[in-house]
Symmetry: C2
Subunit: 700 residues, 2 copies
């Protein structure tokens, strides 16, 4: 096959994804909305979500403009490449923001339509919810591949630069994606928990204000938060991983195969650069194909349907990857790394690295599920410990979170060793691409969760018959599991992406080694390992302060709006949405600056020290994120287990029991851990790695 | 001064410390015990503590014997050195165990005598409590220096080996110290919290069983736990750091100065080896001198007295270190490291490294105090967050713990860079020696805390007049602060000691570099960073299970002993002590094996990977330990702040309020974090480093 043609097909697959996403979005939009009350509730949630995006994008435009100008003038000796980095950055930010906008818009349409579909049956409800999620998934991969592909083709055509330099300026795209991810994931995480905690606690602080009641003006903000955090936040997070892993691999690929095309029998020195793009493009088609198999019969298990789609896609991808790689790459070649070591590599080795990535992602997801799923040992243990009060519940949850880091760390360690053995540093980076190649359907399954969750909430608020609620509960229960797996996948992919970017940084900055026996590097390692702690503390503190603002506003409305308490007047939802939005955006400035400034400062002090910092922040951040996410997920489901009734030592415990009260405390503690600070660490480790990669030429 | 004479003076200073400790112990023993009830209570605590030690030592003897045999036959090609490592190991274990035995015996005598002294005034009470602590402090440093000094002189006299080989076999001493520390700190930590949590929760599980009541058979075990965990555990921890830092420095010192004595004007190639021993010996004299200044007038502040002693000793040590170092070492020399780099070093540089260690220890201690002290911002913040319930209290505490890692990480990073710049890897190791040189008085101040705490408890149980309780409260309040500082110091010193041992390992195992761009090393780093999480989870799980045993036993006694509930029959304390003891020893096997087996397995797979593991476990362990310790300390004092009455938003909160209940939950959660899993990490990181150092010649 012709290489030029193949390269052109990459953005085409992106366009295809967007067209298919558009058709699914149209289809979702055509579904029935249901009763006027349902429409009204959905309207309020959709408006709140849009309000958040408006506010966020207003700040983002300024932020992106400032950073773009800085980037454009960062390297006066190379004005042209500086400008192109700036343009890549703007395009990356735009693509990520657009994907988030599309995904959230459709998700806030799909929620109420899922509820309405659930009035007729389980199958149509699953169809609507999953279609809503698929739009998000395909928008992310479509815009990612389209943006990267077009930039690559355009820069390659416009300049006479080496492939290395072309890819260097494209890394700005990844920085743009990371910036939006920072706003969407950290800001969104603060938003969602500020609204959630604020709505819950208002009742405790002011007497007579009901929690979880339509009269509480913060409830809509709470529902908006689910979309903001779990749909848009997760989407931006995976968008960042997706493009980050591709760019990291392209950078390493540019020096990986140095044979000319005719001598190698393959596509020569550019094939390793194009490979991640091609794998991503094919992954889109595989994701669409997989999505066609997500069907359930009435009375069937939606989990089963989603599994067929997801694991089927992963399996198909593995098979196709074999053919793509063996066709595109030479069978065998010698690679001399930039620091002078020569090794023989094979196309089969690269295939094994991709397979390792796919397998590692799946295993980490399944382990995450084990530690956070209802009915499994760890969560049951927490439920049992709730009988003796909230302290033992908390201790048990912390223990589960800590323990759950074990297997993922071993899997990642083996994955690193294996991928490297098969294909060097390029192997580690392409393993991340392998893990992320079916992001389209993975993210569809992830986003399906909060849509079903919202659907259930609307069913309850609209007081629909119990069988509707039963169906949405069935969807929602599966959503909790997929959310847990998705979180594990997001952390694992962030880790591999960061390592790929780390390797790319070393090559671009020409760091000879990251020897921790060197005191600067050891100091960097220590500082890097500390950042996730301080970053998490900032995120958690932000939730506390923002929730405080929300509590005050709720109190003000109950005091000043006559008839609100009696239910004769309506609360001012918008004001609450605005407060949560403003707080989220204000509070994310400090942690955001930390993540950007620290690597720049350290990098200009000593590039090797920055290498140590990257290693430290990645390793420590992954473990701390797993700890927080899984502890939070386990507490959540321990509470759910007790709510559904559980026998412990011969006594029945259920909703309202002392054990339940204790479990609610655990769930509340876990909320900011699993939805704010934990996921924010995915962004932290990737953002620091991307910043390092972008400044690499300046400190080389 | 003659080098041989100087070397002989080292064990002499150890003997001096032991003689002085003996005289203080005699003096404490001669003080009045007070009323018969006081004597009875003290008797029960002392017997419980002895029972724990008996059980612990029974298991220890077997453990030490097995490991000694393994060590003796580990390297069949060098039977002589294997045997000497085994002997060093046994001597190290014996010295540490003996120090723990002496310290705990005197502490359990000093507690009741402090109470009795407090009946006459504050000054005599401080005197007794501090003297009790001083016996622990001087026993640790005395036996450490004596054991190391005698082994060094004996092996040097018995063999014709190079100095490097002699020091190599002495590293077994450090392994012995680490083994005891594992039992004392991890086992002790499990014991103390199992008893504490078990006693508290028994009342919740079985109706009608009073918490914190003499009828509760677990109360004595609880009091025993304070001595077991805070006196013996802390003592063994610092003993391990103390000897570990000295041995690490000796190993590095053996290759640090290669000039013959006459050419350098100093003491030639052995002076850098002897220097840590000499500094430690002088530190003992300085500690004794400092202790003489710990005096308080009636109505005065005991904190002030302790500060004069501690900071005075540190200041004096700094001055003396200048003269010792400039006299012992040549003014300037060239050092060619084992991997071929030549650098010029100066004696003044070594002095600066020592000063950096002293300063870093002090700063980390003060930062720890800030984050955990009553009335300061962080703790006040947690107290305020308690008003909205236990969930917000927990979230705030976790945030404080995370945030508190920031400054210590920066201080350690700067310390590493500074110490290395002044004196290479030797500088990092000797900085740890500098930090630990005044361990004698530091540990005296640490151990003073639990003695005062016990004294207060006895005053309350013996129903003494309020002014006695007021005086012991005053001592105890200061004890909380010193405990916090001591914990920070213990973590900081563990970190520097582990880094010193790490550098020594690299030299002994001839690891060319620990380049994290090497996938094996990166995998080692990741696995190492994960260990503190799993180890902590194991320790916390152990507390939960052991507390469960205790709860069952308390229930059994109330059911089976007639008249216990009515207060007419006595509970069976001994049985509870036995249960806690057995559980502690049973539960520490798994984490202990983890800490020993992992480095051995990884080391034999790839010595560089073991290097990565060491870097990972040290960096991650230090941060996770600071996080856990400080969160726990902050929760504890937030509870105390509310108990002493606090105005929040115009409302008064005190003992029994809702805010207090929430704060009690935080305190209970923090208990195992700050007293079991957190401090256990100090042992984990040092133990893994020592194991690596001991097996270094086998994998070199």
């Amino acid at each position: 096959m012709d290489l030029a043609l193949l390269t052109w097909l990459v953005p085409v697959s992106g366009v295809l994804a967007l067209l298919y996403a558009f058709s699914r979005a149209q289809w979702v939009g055509k579904q029935e909305v249901g009763t006027p009350l349902m429409a009204e509730l959905a309207q309020a949630i959709a408006e709140g979500a849009r309000a958040f995006l408006r506010q966020e994008y207003r700040v983002l435009v300024i932020f992106v403009a400032v950073v773009a100008v800085l980037l454009a003038f960062a390297n006066m000796s190379q004005p042209e490449s500086s400008w192109m980095i700036a343009i890549s950055f703007v395009v990356g930010a735009f693509c990520s923001a657009l994907a988030g906008f599309i995904g959230m818009t459709v998700a806030t349409k799909a929620n109420v339509r899922t509820t309405q579909a659930a009035r007729t049956g389980l199958a149509p409800a699953l169809n609507v919810a999953f279609s809503g999620g698929l739009v998000m998934g395909l928008s992310v991969v479509g815009l990612g591949v389209l943006g990267l592909g077009v930039l690559f083709l355009a820069y390659d055509a416009m300049t006479v630069w080496s492939i290395t330099k072309v890819i260097g300026v494209i890394s700005g795209f990844s920085l743009g994606a990371s910036s939006i991810a920072l706003f969407a994931r950290v800001g969104g995480g603060i938003y969602t928990k500020a609204a959630d905690v604020g709505a819950d606690l208002a009742g405790k602080v002011y007497e007579g204000i009901p929690e979880d009641d339509p009269r509480n003006p913060a409830t809509i903000a709470d529902n908006v938060g689910d979309n903001v955090g779990d749909v848009a936040g997760m989407g931006a997070d995976l968008f960042e991983s997706y493009v980050g892993s591709i760019i990291g691999t392209m950078v390493l690929g540019s020096a990986f195969i140095s044979l000319p095309a005719f001598a190698s029998g393959g596509m020569g020195d550019i094939s390793a650069v194009i490979l991640p793009l091609v794998l991503a493009g094919v992954g889109i088609l595989v994701s669409i194909a997989g999505s066609l198999f997500v069907k359930v019969k009435e009375g069937g298990n939606p989990q089963h349907a989603l599994n067929i789609g997801e694991f089927g896609a992963a399996g198909l991808m593995a098979v196709l990857a074999y053919f793509i790689i063996t066709i595109m790459l030479p069978e065998t070649w010698n690679h001399t790394s930039w620091n002078g070591v020569t090794t023989e590599y094979t196309s089969l080795g690269v295939f094994w690295a991709v397979l390792i990535g796919l397998a590692a992602g799946t295993i980490i997801g399944l382990v995450t599920e084990y530690y956070t799923a209802t009915g499994k040992g760890p969560v049951t243990g927490i439920a049992h410990q709730s009988v003796t009060g909230s302290a033992t519940n908390i201790i048990a949850g912390l223990g589960v979170g800590m323990f759950s880091t074990g297997i993922p760390a071993v899997v990642l360690a083996l994955g690193i060793i294996g991928a490297f053995a098969f294909a060097g540093l390029y192997g580690i980076a392409i393993a991340a691409v392998g893990m992320l190649s079916v992001t389209g359907i993975q993210l569809a399954v992830d986003a399906y969760g909060p849509i079903s969750d919202n659907a259930g909430g609307i069913a309850e608020m609209a007081e629909l018959p119990p069988e509707v609620r039963e169906r949405t509960d069935k969807l929602d229960a599966v959503g909790n599991t997929t959310a847990a797996i998705g979180k594990g996948f997001a952390i694992g992919s962030a880790a591999l992406t960061a390592l790929g970017l780390f390797a790319a940084f070393m090559q671009q900055a020409q760091v000879p080694n990251i020897d921790v026996a060197n005191p600067n590097i050891l100091a960097g390692l220590l500082l890097g390992a500390m950042l996730p702690y301080v970053f998490s503390a900032m995120a958690m503190g932000a939730v506390g302060r923002a929730a405080g603002d929300m509590i005050k506003e709720v109190g003000r409305q109950f005091a000043e709006i006559p008839g609100l308490r009696e239910g004769t007047a309506k609360p001012d939802h918008e004001r609450c949405v605005e407060i949560s939005t403003k707080a989220a955006i204000r509070e994310m400035v400090a942690p955001g600056l930390l993540a950007v400034i620290v690597p720049v400062v350290i990098g200009f002090i000593d590039k090797s020290m920055l290498g140590g910092l990257l290693a430290g922040v990645t390793v420590s951040g992954v473990l701390f994120a797993i700890f927080q996410s899984n502890a939070g997920g386990a507490w959540d489901n321990a509470k759910k287990m007790i709510e559904s009734g559980i026998m412990i030592d011969g006594t029945q415990h259920g909703k309202g029991s002392e054990a339940h009260k204790a479990a609610v405390v655990g769930d509340t503690v876990g909320d900011p851990l699993k939805d704010t600070s934990g996921p924010s660490l995915n962004i932290l480790i990737k953002l620091i790695a991307v910043v390092a990669l972008v400044i690499a030429p300046l400190i080389a």
